[in-house]
């Protein structure tokens, strides 16, 4: 293999490794989570989350805007489960894993309109 070929091969390997590493930072896509349904998530959201995350999570209110959030799924999932003292209740007992992942699917379905 020529020097140029070795450099090209190394570049390909590094690119693939970076892609894998990036993928490991993210949770599986919500659509891949078994049973996750953004419509179920939407109803749960309107029941209770919308009390703070206004316009269905599209704008900031008592809680932050969720549309377009760059937080990874696992971060959001953990925040929903554990809450934040004095700011957000903990919902670990309240909802099943499928319901929680449906909430994430709903949040991911929100169009980021920059509001």
């Amino acid at each position: 293999m020529s020097a140029m070929g070795r450099i090209l091969a190394l570049a390909i390997v590094l690119t693939l490794a970076a892609a894998v590493a990036h993928g490991q930072d993210r949770s599986p896509a919500p659509a891949a989570a078994p049973g996750a349904d953004p419509l179920i998530g939407q109803q749960i959201f309107t029941n209770l989350c919308g009390f703070c995350h206004q316009d269905g999570g599209r704008v900031a209110g008592r809680g932050p805007r969720l549309a377009g959030t760059d937080r990874p799924d696992d971060y959001i999932l953990n925040r929903i489960r554990v809450g934040k003292e004095g700011a957000m209740p903990a919902y670990a007992r309240a909802f099943s894993d499928v319901q929680l992942r449906s909430l994430i699917a709903y949040i991911r379905s929100l169009k980021d309109e920059g509001r």
Binding site: F51, Q54, V59, G63, G86, A87, A94
Partner: protein, 576 residues
């Protein structure tokens, strides 16, 4: 009858009641109860949440007055620590000792003259439950009497603490908060030998009980259910909607000594918004009037039996509840009246004997959930009931034209001082289903966004008005609504703790600002005045982070975006 004669008359009535009831009271009880009943503002003390049973939030003390208030300085400060969601409580004072509670129902007794702590009591709470609650962990007040301090907890208990030692006397579990998620955040009200406290409710799918508890033993004496608690009320809930109707009564009410009647305001029904639109009498998630939500109810404090009521907003579809706790009792032209503000922005004036409407007047300008309220009957005119889908510019916003903190009334000026909130919101009403298992959850029924009123910016105001007619004598505007209680004094002053952290004193007659001091943190709790060792003091709670205050960052920007929500202190002033 002149104001002075009215006061003497009230005192006379109250003293008669005390003598009549004295045989049922312990020695330690009489001092505190007498002050709460008989002396406007408690004289030197401040022994019940609203200052007196008449809900005046008025101290007759005159040492601090319009002439010398400019010499007001900080006397002492107390930091309770762990002020999650700020310090929202109102302190009480009896015989030179100040008692108050912070978040997590932590109770302090402090030398009222020096600020020296005497004891503290931190109840052990169910931490998992506290973490799972939305309306938590703040506690808005206590009650005093029978030698005890009474405090509710967010995990559903009422606790009595020995007033001298700080040791618990009894601890009674009243609500299955682990299941219902709600508990107690409001102050109890002590009436004779009963401690009365109401549970949270509103958008929570329960039935919002109010309890009467024996002050000596902690035994539950009675329970009044605010959702379908009588056969008459049950008929006002379609289907099984009464099972998850909300209600509650989360602020301390008032007590009419003369008729032995407790007045209490109740919370809104659940779900908070209703998709039935104009068909709400027969359709939607809770068809009917939904008694006794968004109502004022009159209870017998001995039995908990309902005497009479008025539902301020039949089938409340806007979260404009009646839980505001102040019931300002005044006499006017031979009539015995009670004045009660509703969250929707109207002030209701009732006859104290039967809750018949005497007048209804609007305190805020931005109201369009109704076209009006009939001042003779209280009937809603031109309701804006919202069907499924999007709606714009509903006024006031969900945070209300008035919030839960109290105004003040001065018998000297005859004026009622009250905060008004001018803001609106857009919303989309969406069908929801109550979540009850394994733990009840909020049932909102809409997505919403707070916004400025059309043609202007959101703001707040404090006005001095005739409490019966609403006629305005003066008004001061604020760039954001203050969210704390007000205080009127015999020194002809009105104190307004504002959202930015400024405490201001105004001439009660004219509204002229006479003094201000920056406490460095928004106010969202109570303010009182008392005398200890011959000096008059003003004590105010500082600390930001209530659910209404949480809206301020998005709506008003700084300083609220940067204001901490885990701090708070009790700041006490006197003349230098």
């Amino acid at each position: 009858m002149t104001t002075q004669r009215r006061v003497i008359y009230l005192v006379g009535l109250a003293m008669t009641a005390i003598v009549a009831g004295a045989c049922s009271m312990s020695t330690s009880d009489t001092g505190t109860t007498r002050a709460a009943m008989a002396e406007p503002g408690g004289g030197n003390d401040w022994t019940t949440y609203h200052g007196t049973y008449q809900s005046w939030h008025y101290s007759p003390l005159t040492q601090i007055n319009t002439d010398n208030v400019k010499r007001l300085r900080v006397a002492w400060v107390h930091h309770p620590g762990r002020s999650t969601r700020g310090l929202q409580s109102t302190p009480l004072v009896s015989n030179g000792v100040l008692y108050y509670t912070g978040s997590y129902s932590r109770v302090w007794a402090i030398d009222a003259a020096t600020g020296t702590p005497l004891w503290s009591y931190f109840p052990k709470l169910n931490d998992d439950l506290v973490a799972a609650q939305t309306h938590s962990p703040y506690t808005r007040g206590i009650a005093l009497g029978h030698g005890k301090v009474f405090v509710g907890t967010v995990d559903g208990r009422l606790i009595a603490i020995d007033q001298k030692t700080g040791q618990p006397a009894w601890d009674t579990k009243l609500i299955n908060s682990e299941k219902l998620t709600v508990g107690f955040t409001g102050a109890p009200l002590l009436v004779k030998d009963k401690v009365i406290i109401g549970a949270q409710g509103g958008e929570w799918p329960g039935r919002g009980p109010i309890f009467g508890v024996d002050a000596a033993s902690g035994r539950k004496a009675w329970e009044f259910i605010t959702v379908a608690g009588t056969p008459e009320a049950m008929k006002t809930w379609g289907g099984d909607s009464w099972r998850t109707g909300g209600g509650g009564g989360w602020m301390a009410g008032g007590y009419d000594v003369e008729t032995n009647t407790v007045w209490w305001g109740t919370g809104n029904p659940a779900p908070l918004y209703d998709w039935a639109g104009s068909d709400w009498k027969t359709a939607g998630p809770r068809p009917g009037d939904n008694l006794y939500t968004t109502s004022v109810i009159a209870l017998d404090p001995d039995t908990g039996k309902l005497k009479f009521y008025h539902q301020e907003l039949p089938h409340d579809a806007w979260d404009f509840d009646s839980a505001v706790g102040e019931f300002v009792m005044i006499d006017r032209g031979g009539q015995k009246l009670v004045v009660h503000p509703n969250k929707g922005g109207h002030v209701f004036v009732y006859d104290r004997k039967d809750a018949k409407i005497v007048n209804v007047w609007p305190l805020v300008q931005n109201i369009n959930f109704v076209k009006g309220i009939d001042p003779k009957t209280g009937a809603l005119i031109g309701r804006r009931d919202m069907a499924l889908g999007k709606h714009t510019n509903l006024c006031p916003a969900i945070a209300g034209g008035m919030s839960w903190n109290s105004g003040a009334y001065s018998p000297k000026t005859g004026l009622y001082y009250k905060i008004g909130q001018e803001w609106c919101m857009d919303l989309e009403v969406v069908k929801t289903t109550p979540v009850l298992e394994p733990q009840a959850q909020l049932n909102i029924g809409a997505n919403f966004t707070l916004r400025n009123p059309e043609g202007g910016k959101a703001y707040g105001h404090v006005s001095g008005r005739d409490p019966v007619t609403g006629q305005k004598k003066w008004e001061v505007k604020f760039t954001e609504p203050p969210l704390a209680s007000l205080l009127a004094t015999g020194g002809n002053l009105v104190f307004v703790p504002d959202a930015r952290g400024w405490l201001r004193a105004y001439n009660a007659e004219t509204g002229q600002e006479l003094w201000s001091h920056n406490n460095g943190l928004g106010h969202n709790g109570g303010i009182i005045s008392y005398s200890a060792k011959g000096k008059q003091y003003i004590a105010v709670a500082t600390g930001w982070g209530s659910l209404v205050g949480d809206e301020f960052g998005a709506l008003f920007g700084e300083p609220f975006k940067s204001m901490p929500k885990d701090s708070g202190a009790l700041v006490v002033f006197t003349l230098e």
